[in-house]
Symmetry: C2
Subunit: 123 residues, 2 copies
DNA sequence: GGCCTTCACAAGTAAATACTTGTGAAAGGA
DNA sequence: TCCTTTCACAAGTATTTACTTGTGAAGGCC
């Protein structure tokens, strides 16, 4: 059996899976992730990139945070957010379960794009 | 820029991505996919596996079908459904974009589990 | 102290979602 | 032909979602 990240009872992390997939199923939230994918950013700067209100973006951030996709670090009055890639485990597990062949293709794609990098796994 | 599956204007298939992720973000629908993952099944038999009404399951099937995750084949009064793994492309692309390291791990996992299988990609 | 800035909490609203019951179309068997 | 099976369409409802405006708490600067 694969993943089983959380410590919840029941089956293999269905609650997590739900939260993560639903969090990702919104273009605004995916854009937020893109913004802070490698750069840590304060909430205000994230909000500036959208036509939404500051509060709306804050709510999106909350959804992402509850799904485990965002980490928060307070610095004075500001709150800096960064992406938590580990939370994508349920998505990976789902792909692995539903479409194992995709992994073979991905493997080849990765080998083509990142020729011979070794053990670059962070965290 | 990765995938870009569809032929739409705008960015990289956001509409598809939304539909697929939202379709997957429901445990009932994921169970439906598990049921027909390798076996083709008529709607009625799918419905029997749930405590929901036949109509509710039919609605879930419609959602999955609209997301491209299910294919329909009519045979007499019955409608047989099968899983369309290609529709998971947006999910794969998302993983690739957001978590490239995961692919490295998957690659290793696949190599461990399927020692030296070659080009087993169906479709 | 007062006054900014940064940001989330609260409440309200329109639309979407996940169901229910009721019904009828499509196909096959008597 | 009528009758049954299989299944989606229709309409109604409760809950959730994606936003809005209003507000107040937390911290830094004068």
């Amino acid at each position: 059996m694969s993943g089983s990240a959380g410590g919840g009872p029941g089956t293999t992390g269905t609650a997590d899976t739900d939260a993560v997939l639903r969090a990702l199923a919104d273009p605004h939230r995916r854009d937020i992730i893109r913004l802070i994918h490698d750069t840590e950013l304060p909430a205000g700067q994230i909000a500036q990139h959208f036509t939404l209100t500051q509060q709306a973006v804050s709510q999106h951030i909350t959804v992402l945070k509850k799904a485990g996709l965002l980490g928060e670090r307070r610095e004075g009055t500001r709150r800096l957010y960064r992406f938590h890639s580990d939370a994508l485990m349920p998505v990976r597990d789902l792909l692995e379960e539903f479409w194992p062949d995709a992994l073979q293709r991905l493997k080849r794609a990765v080998e083509r794009d990142h020729p011979k990098k070794k053990g670059a796994t962070r965290q």
